[in-house]
Structures are given as C-alpha cells and as structure tokens.
Symmetry: C2
Subunit: 233 residues, 2 copies
DNA sequence: ATTACTACTAAACGAGTAC
DNA sequence: TGTACTCGTTTAGTAGTAA
C-alpha cells in the first residue's frame, strides 16, 4: 500500500531534509551554515554538520562547502523521499478510509465449497486479471472472535474494493464478489473475499491466495491468523 | 512561516503517529499489539510500547490496554500535528517558490532618506494595515556581498509579496513598494522592502521594523546581519 | 567565519523477565 | 498470548578544538 520504506532511523534524516526543503533547497541551491541549520533542527552545530554529511552519503543532497557555509541542494532521490511522504500523508489525511485494516481470526475448516466456487472459470479469470494471481483451489476461513474484529470487518465492507462480477450457469446464479488485496500473517500475499456465499455471517473472513496457505504458513485449525487488508487505492 | 514546532525528539513520535494513521487510527479505534507495531516501526516491542506510552502522555493518542493488544485512536491534538505536517509539506512540494529565503548582508549607513519615505502617511498607513506594525522611522540597509545572496535577492523579487501602493504628492511621485515579512537575526520581526527607491541597486536590501533594530540588536556598521524573508502565502 | 574531528556524555534501545 | 518494567548496551548528541 505504498508504505515509506523508512525505518525510524531514516526519519531523522527525512526531518533534516524537510527543514532544508523549507529553506528552499528543493528548487535552488541554498547557502546555509551548519550552525543556522542546527537552530532550525533544535540540535547542536556538530549534529547538524553530521546530518548533512550523512544526507550527502545517502545521495539525498548535493553539498559544497564554502568558507561562508554549505551550499546545499536536495537531489532527486531526496526529493523523491519527500514526495512519497507527502503523497502517503495526503492519502491518510484526505481519504475517507484508512490505507489498511488489520483483522485477526481463528482458523477453521469450512464446508469445502470454497474450492468449487473459486475454480469456476468465470470467477477464476477475473481473479487472475484483477488480483494478479491464480488462486489455490480452496479458501482459508477465519472466525472473527472479538467484537472489535467483527466491527472492523463490517466497516471494511463499506470501503471500495475490487469488484468481481457474478454470472449465471444453467443450474444457478453466482453472485458478485468484492475483494481486497491482503497480507496474511505478515508474510503471504492473498485477498479477502466478501459475499462469495451468503451462508457465512459477518463473523467469518474468507481468504484466497496463490498458494496453499495452510501448508506454507504451517497452520492448522485453531491457529490465530492476522490479516492486513489493503484498502484501495 | 507555520513551521512545525517540532524538535528532533518529537519527530520520532510523529513517525509513530504516522504509522498508526496508516493503520486507520485517525478514523477509528484500532487494535494493535506493541509487537506488531514494532514490526511496522522497525524497532523492538519494548520501544514500540514506550512510544505508545509517550504518545499517550503527550495526549496525541487515546489508549486502552486489553489482553489482546492496545486499542488506539489518534486524538485531536495528534491529528492536528499530522495535519500541520501535511499542509507544510504540500506547500513545500507544490509551491513554485519556497516558504522562506535567507539572505545575509553587511550593515551600512544609507543617505538617511529611508526615514522620510517610511513616514509618508500614505505609505505608513498601508504598512500598519498590511504588515501589522508601525515602522520605526528609518530603514536598515544591508549590502549583499556574495554572489549567492545577490542571486537569491533577484529570485526573491520575482515571488509574490505584499503590495504597497504608491501615490503622487504635489512635488513628486512615490512608487509602488513590494514587501515581505522577515525575521532579522533570528529574533526581530520586520519586513524587507523592494523598489522603494531606485538609487540602490540589486545588491542592497532595505529593511523596516516596528523597533529601532540597530539598538535592539546592538548593531553597528560592518556587522553581518542575517535576514529570513518569508514568502507568501 | 566556517566545517567537522575526537573524546566524552546523555539518551534511546533492546534483552530478559515479571505480571 | 499480551504489556511494560529494570538494566546493561548501543547509539545519538555535545563540548572542545583543529584546520
């Protein structure tokens, strides 16, 4: 979901970069003494100096030392970092729904019908096209136990998702399905399916993935499974 | 210029807040374990836990501990911090010109005409109305010595500023003046004036302030003076 | 004036662990 | 499982100072 590849150590540098941008270093080469920058950052002159050195080593800025201070300009890679932060922040602040919702449930064995539905060709082709993977024939069923998770699921259902169209066969009707890309147990890519069938209530989450999650994640019934659902866009 | 009141220590907390917002804690109460958050932050579970405690002490988040994790929701003051960061970043990234330009020059004594011009009533009333202060009768003149500062001044002149309209008296014409709010030597509020008169070239900066800067800042001719010019909006 | 090195101090971090 | 304490270690920050 476009998360900044930034651990907490990098944020210190991003902060310095942000302050430099405030001084205009994104558009022009600015002249700034390490002492002045230190004041802006709320640190000592020595720390500001080291920060600039580290930023230069990261190639986030171009830097030239003069007797009157440093000539600094933010490089493309530095500007890209700021841009990413800005767009992520805009998403977070302006969207009506969050970029992701994390749910947790207990693994249980369903009626085995998931495999049948998921492998219907008209569904399967759309999964491949719209989700980017060919689903393993079967669904992973999670029982949401806590009140929080059930509520979060209900709310999630109101957010826009990937629409997979239903169809009619000779014998019956296959309804529309709403999908959300998801990360299962922090490791495996997959998707959450909504309204595939109606006989599970809102306390159940159905998941598909390109692989057999039960064996890949060494899961058996009763295991607690964490699902990070990625909301669009 | 609307700078985030954030020293480098607060930045770390802002990072945690940002990650919580990514998880949806701005709109809803989310359930998150300190271990899971730790993974998102790239720190240990203990550090994540401490971060949450500190965020709560700052009143940036509401937090309830349950046996399954923490229920977290970003409080108004926390959301305000994110909002401020976002709007500052938007200004920096989307504006054609930077929020501020810092210049440096050597103090010199002018012809003493500044006091005359500044105290003309039609100018003075506009200064009070548009700059928010009644200027001390006199201007502080700085000679920009380095090539960098002269260039920065030229570029600054192309940015939009506060327009003070000229007028005609019986004897002569008083031209339009463009002003920018400024901070002199990191301490005193004032404004930079452009095109007040034409007999100074582009290597001179004229400054007015509500007080007598020379005495307030203990300045004499030859002193190096730093001016942070604030560009609109 | 500057920058930025070395040596030291303060703060943040994380391992272990209690609850 | 969870959270969060203590405490030893690591890292970041500063003072002094050379260039």
């Amino acid at each position: 979901m476009g998360s900044l590849n930034t651990d907490s150590r990098e944020w210190k540098h991003l902060f310095t970069l942000y302050k430099l941008a405030e001084m205009g270093a994104r558009n022009r080469t600015i002249k700034v003494s390490t002492g002045y920058l230190a004041g802006k950052l709320g640190v000592s002159q020595q720390t500001a100096s080291r920060n600039l050195i580290e930023l230069e080593q990261k190639k986030w800025i171009k830097r030239t030392i003069t007797p009157e201070g440093c000539l600094v300009r933010i490089a493309d890679s530095g500007a890209a970092k700021l841009k990413k932060l800005h767009s992520n922040l805009r998403l977070i602040m302006e969207a009506a729904y969050p970029p992701s919702v994390t749910l947790e449930g207990i693994l249980f064995t369903g009626l085995g019908e998931g495999a049948y539905y998921v492998t219907r060709d008209k569904y399967r082709k759309q999964f491949i096209e719209k989700l980017g993977f060919d689903p393993y024939p079967g669904t992973l069923n999670l029982k949401l136990t806590s009140e929080y998770d059930a509520e979060a699921r209900s709310e999630l259902e109101t957010y826009p998702g990937i629409e997979v169209e239903g169809f009619d066969s000779e014998s019956r009707t296959f309804g529309n399905v709403k999908c959300y890309p998801a990360v299962i147990d922090n490791k495996m890519k997959g998707a959450v399916l909504f309204a595939l069938r109606s006989h599970y209530d809102s306390s159940v989450l159905e998941i598909i993935a390109p692989t057999h999650l039960r064996s890949k994640l060494k899961l058996t019934d009763g295991h607690k499974v964490k699902v990070e659902v990625l909301v669009l866009p």
